[in-house]
Symmetry: C2
Subunit: 305 residues, 2 copies
């Protein structure tokens, strides 16, 4: 196991995503290298007020520590107080056009060195999609892209990761899904290291294949104040999820991470409106149907989709 290879993979993944999004947008990213308290190194790329993207954040961070806190080692009590390393790439894209969905992806690796015995490691990550005015064909494409990667590794693996995603990105207080899901995995070490790393690379590399065709297809759809208002309203749900529930956000803030890099996920502009309910049969009301978990990858499209 070469940790350098993993770090290099994550760093290149960040650069590749930044390069491709920048090319589509026409605007470039600002970047900063930072260190927080000697514990965390990071590189944060942010694009604000782009042509296609209103805000994009793509962060790489590397965490090293001499003593893992008990709260972070629930699954492996032998890791308490052991030294550890973690790498990760995390990204969020808030497009301008309400017909393009918001998306989030995260890929990470953790390794801990117990005082006795072999190191304990795992990969985690996934990607999920949050549309405002959804298209069935986009949802099907999104899920089929993820499924194709998973199917090459283990039958039923996509279904497991999709379920995990649906369960994780669920706003308890609203009793509502954050979006149409995708894949999510944590603690992946059921396979050997080479296979787990291979899977993480392949699923991470499939992110742009899943998302960019949707951007290209929807970026020129005309929209007005009505669609914009609905987008801003729905972005409120994103804020609610990230600040009330998202484990990465809450852990980052509680563990004294770099606030601006953690909260770069928050949308550029957000609206809350008391007791808003979309009109029956309106395009805005249609979203609720999409937020019911479905076997998207199995759906067949017909002419009207």
């Amino acid at each position: 196991m070469q940790l350098d290879n993993i770090q290099t993979f994550f760093e290149n993944l960040q650069l590749q995503i930044v390069a491709e999004l920048s090319q589509i947008d026409g605007c470039s990213f600002n970047s900063e290298s930072w260190n927080k308290d000697g514990r965390i190194d990071g590189i944060t790329y942010v694009l604000e007020n782009g042509n296609v993207f209103e805000k994009v954040g793509v962060g790489f961070s590397k965490l090293t520590g001499e003593s893992l806190p008990p709260a972070a080692s629930i699954r492996y009590p032998e890791l308490v107080d052991s030294s550890y390393q973690a790498f990760g790439v995390s990204l969020i894209i808030h497009p301008r056009n309400p017909y393009i969905p918001t998306t989030h992806a995260n890929f990470r690796f953790f390794i801990g060195y117990p005082k006795q015995g072999e190191p304990i490691w795992w990969f985690g990550g996934g990607y999920d999609l949050t549309p405002y005015y959804p298209f069935k064909e986009d949802c099907v494409h999104w899920h089929q892209t993820a499924k194709k990667v998973c199917d090459d590794f283990e039958p039923g693996f996509y279904e497991k990761l999709k379920k995990w995603c649906d369960e994780y990105f669920y706003l308890k207080h609203r009793q509502e899904a954050r979006g149409i899901g995708g894949v999510f995995f944590d603690d992946l070490n059921c396979w050997d290291f080479a296979t787990s790393f291979d899977f993480t690379q392949k699923i991470a590399n499939s992110f742009l294949d899943a998302y960019l065709p949707i951007v290209l297809k929807r970026q020129n759809i005309a929209y007005g104040e009505r669609e914009r208002a609905f987008q801003l309203y729905r972005r409120g749900r994103y804020v609610e999820f990230n600040l009330l529930q998202d484990r990465g956000t809450l852990f980052g803030l509680q563990s004294n991470g770099r606030v601006e890099s953690i909260l770069m996920s928050l949308p550029p502009l957000v609206k809350w409106q008391y007791n808003y309910v979309p009109k029956i049969n309106s395009p805005e009301a249609k979203l609720a149907e999409f937020l019911q978990p479905k076997a998207w990858a199995e759906l067949t499209l017909n002419a009207v989709d």
Copy 2:
């Protein structure tokens, strides 16, 4: 102890605040009476898109239960599983003009009936101010109004409640105060019931005396896009506090309260901007000085304030 009197006081407080704010604004409130799962009764008044106020929420709620959850009775273990009642009024005002501060107030009463012994009751509440472009004289007036009420009850009581407020409305992850504070109290039962109720009524009734003169003084100050952008940016801190830290919000959501009434506190429009830092010596940079806790009520004003 007449619970009806307390409930009537809270209901009238809500109506009085709604009436005065509506008169200043020129727009009227929408109201709803609601019941959640047979456990909570509420009346929520909301004004959106007013002339002076962009959003105001004033809520009354009444909670009754047969069995208090352990988490809600940390201070009084004898109240576990006992029946209880709670009333409260909670309000938030997000003005349109960035020269008028945002404010929040909350007043509440709780009574629990242990299986043995006397009922256990307390009052709680307070009000705090969150300016964007602060004026020293407004901060002094705000705190002096609260101090005047407290001083009639006990020397040093205002100082205690002010400190409590400063500590409560502190954004840990930003290491920053939410605003310039005010007064905050919980578990008030150190005096007899009549005195405690009298204090709660007087401090609650002083809220409009503290806030309205500031509104009237600042509502016609001209502002442009720059001030508006700063206001929307700073409102982000309000969202962060309410969703990450505010005990009322988190308890309400976790205990399955009415989501729209709990989250009516969120601002109508909010902006997040990555790594924003105000220019040195700008009016926006001046806010940071005001966010350092000060003995506002003791300050003397001179001609330049």
